[in-house]
Amino acid sequence: MSISTLLENYSEFRHFHPVDDVPHNPYKWAMSIDLDACSGCNACSVACYAENNLPVVGREKYLHGQAMHWMRIERYWDEDGREFPDQGAQFLPMMCQQCEAAPCETVCPVGATNHTPDGINSQIYNRCIGSRYCSANCPYKVRYFNWYDYPTTDNVWPAEMNQQLNPDVTVRGKGVMEKCTFCIQRVTVAKNNAKSEGRLVHDGEVQTACQQACPTSAISFGNLVDPESRVHKQWQVQKVELDKDAQTKDKEEGGSDLRGYRILEELRPYPSVMYLERVRETAI
């Protein structure tokens, strides 16, 4: 049986994604983040903690680098001799980039992380054995490991706070890897609703927690193959193509004035998150 499945689908099993492949259809979830709009308020990160049952590890573990913030706000500034150089730092919200050719997927020994048909990098907690190779190979270091058994640790969700845990999302025990899922629980509900009504998901029907909480609407999320979606339009306007490791617009003479770019695109993970460069001057 196995051999016949192999032989029947042989050509389908022998191509590279996304370069020799058709785009995901009907869904390819993607994001764009406007750094010019980002004020670094951390609301997205807090929303993510609430939505996805992220453990709050406390000061000591945070200082050891054991925090579990799937969505993190990074700060960058120039050391230019000012008294407070970090004033006016630039912000970068960073989460799993849901790569089309993710370096983490190939190295997992048990196949706990896969590329889904709607273009998300999935993580199967039950399958994970905790080799942490995925994190070692992630260029963005956006995978977080459960170093302790947080559900049974004191003060992670102290009494009554555990009442606010999201029932749609599992809590993870010790020894498994986890990361941003693009709020897969919300995406699944929206897809199921649409399916039962015999249509596709509309743009705006599903929002990620970070997008919903962002006061400046810096984050947009949607279906990249839907020509009506905001994400699709932004990617198109910025001339950022999903299956390129170097954008055509940047090869033009003098470069491009468009702001859209993807982080570490030259490593060929084909990330699904486009950032829009910041152009305004610093606050000071």
Binding site: S2, K61, L63, H64, G65, Q66, A67, R72, E74, Y76, M94, P103, T106, V107, C108, P109, V110, G111, R127, C128, I129, G130, S131, R132, Y133, S135, A136, N137, P139, Y140, K141, Y144, F145, N146, W147, Y148, D149, K174, G175, V176, M177, L264, L267
Partner: protein, 460 residues
């Protein structure tokens, strides 16, 4: 300096080696006790880590791998020189390997077992470790065959089981000797069962010879592939400082290097503990020391090539990792590694020191320290200076739990090895006899031709 006395009686060989199964020097028990204590430390650390979580080892987000993986590579590497001595030198008919290959082969087996433990210690959910095995199941769930870690599992399984078979097959004639000479008791029963009724008949020897040669031929490419695959864990990844084409040969050379150094250490220990001065002679020590020196220079060359390739390469991130190794928080260890790996072996050039036992003991331990540091310097610095700047300022120092388990692994290896040497003959009796026989035949022939030549001269 002869490798072995040619007039040594065969009955004496049996007697001397069998004595090692009975009454070693008191040092044996001291070493065994220390080893057990070290294992105790590691077991305590592991129990604490198992129940609490890997956080107690002070891993953090970019620093997800640490001493466990480094020490894992160290032990895998150590296993390679057993194969070098028993298989490569066997094919090359270098018969000086005969008195020492048995313990080297045992070292291969036990260091692989120690390395296997690190896989378990390292995993977040070790109780699910069987997920990584391709066992048939109804739901058609398989491990990911693309992952270098799975290749590792497969390669180590193949290497470990083949090494055990090789060690065992090569030991059957000796087990028969033990069987014939033991007083009745559990040991006699054990040897009788393991000797499989070996009586040294011509049919047994004929098939034995071919089988031994065949396994030796398989083990050589296997040993090379095992450490190349371990190198692939890094070379196949995308991280700066790991994604280097020359890693597989570099790892293999490093493996042979640390293994040869370990053989010198164990040679000196066994020679003293089991009173093997007749068999583990200075002539043989000299030969291993020279071999180690040659491999040290190969390693040094590949190490420098790696730096040069990174330095003159196009990849700024990889270059930054190299600069950070030499100047960053890991600098003392990086320089110590280069000193121990490339400068210390130069002592081996001096004839006076080649057979100077305390000096060689110190040198061999320093070489292994250097090789352990090398593995750590491969694993750790990449995490503290990867592609992503956000990860550049994170706490990376391993906690005492990690150090304790690494420390205890040496005890675990020592324990297994010392127990093996007490239960099984650690010098191959039948091969020492062969060596004595062939050498004395050669000497006789030489003398005969010498006499004839002299007689011929006289007649002329």
């Amino acid at each position: 300096m002869k490798d072995i006395r040619e007039d040594i009686a065969w009955a004496q060989i049996n007697k001397d080696v069998l004595k090692s199964l009975e009454n070693p020097r008191r040092m044996y028990w001291v070493i065994l006790f220390i080893a057990i204590a070290m294992v105790g430390v590691a077991v305590g650390c592991e129990v604490y880590q198992y129940t609490t979580g890997l956080g107690v080892a002070n891993f953090s987000n970019p620093h997800v791998w640490g001493l466990y993986i480094a020490t894992f590579i160290f032990w895998i590497g150590m296993s390679h020189s057993g194969t070098l001595l028993s298989a490569i030198l066997h094919l090359m008919h270098a018969d000086w390997r005969k008195p020492i290959y048995r313990f080297a082969e045992a070292m291969t087996t036990f260091s692989l077992m120690t390395a296997g433990l690190f896989v378990a210690v390292h995993l977040g959910r070790v109780w699910q470790i069987y997920y990584a095995l391709p066992y048939p199941n109804m739901r058609q769930v398989w491990p990911n065959f693309q992952s270098p870690l799975l290749w590792d599992a497969m390669a180590i399984f193949t290497y470990l089981s083949s090494s055990i078979l090789f060690l065992y097959v090569g030991m059957i004639p000796d087990l028969a000797i033990c069987r014939d000479n033991m007083n009745p008791g559990w040991r006699k029963k054990l040897y009788t069962a393991l000797a499989l009724g070996w009586e040294g008949t011509d049919r047994q020897w004929r098939n034995f010879r071919v089988t031994y040669l065949t396994i030796a031929c398989f083990l050589i490419p296997l040993a090379v592939s095992v450490h190349s695959i371990v190198a692939s864990d890094f070379a196949m990844s995308q991280q700066p400082g790991w994604h280097i084409t020359s890693f597989p040969p570099y790892f293999v050379a490093g493996a042979l290097y640390s293994g040869c150094a370990a053989i010198i250490t164990l040679f000196i220990i066994l020679r003293y503990v089991f009173k093997f001065e007749e068999y583990m002679t200075m002539g043989i020590l000299k030969k291993i020391v020279r071999l180690t020196f040659a491999i040290a220079m190969v390693w040094t060359y590949l190490n420098l090539i790696e730096y040069a390739a990174v330095w003159y390469g196009h990849d700024q991130a990889a270059k930054d990792v190299l600069i950070q190794k030499a100047t960053g928080p890991y600098a003392p260890f990086w320089w110590a590694m280069n000193f121990c790996g490339s400068i210390v072996p130069l002592i081996m050039l001096f004839k006076r020191f080649q057979t100077h036992i305390p000096m060689m003991m110190a040198v061999s331990i320093l070489l292994n320290l250097g090789m352990w540091l090398e593995r750590w310097m491969i694993v750790a610095p990449t995490f503290s200076h990867g592609y992503y700047p956000w990860t550049w300022d994170h706490d990376q120092w391993p906690s005492l739990v990690q150090w304790g388990i690494v420390f205890g692994s040496f005890g675990w290896f020592g324990l297994l090895f010392m127990v093996f040497c007490k239960v099984f003959p650690s010098v191959s009796m039948y091969e020492v006899k062969e060596m004595v026989y062939h050498r004395s035949q050669a000497t006789k022939k030489l003398e005969a031709t010498g006499k004839m030549a002299a007689a011929g001269k006289g007649a002329h």
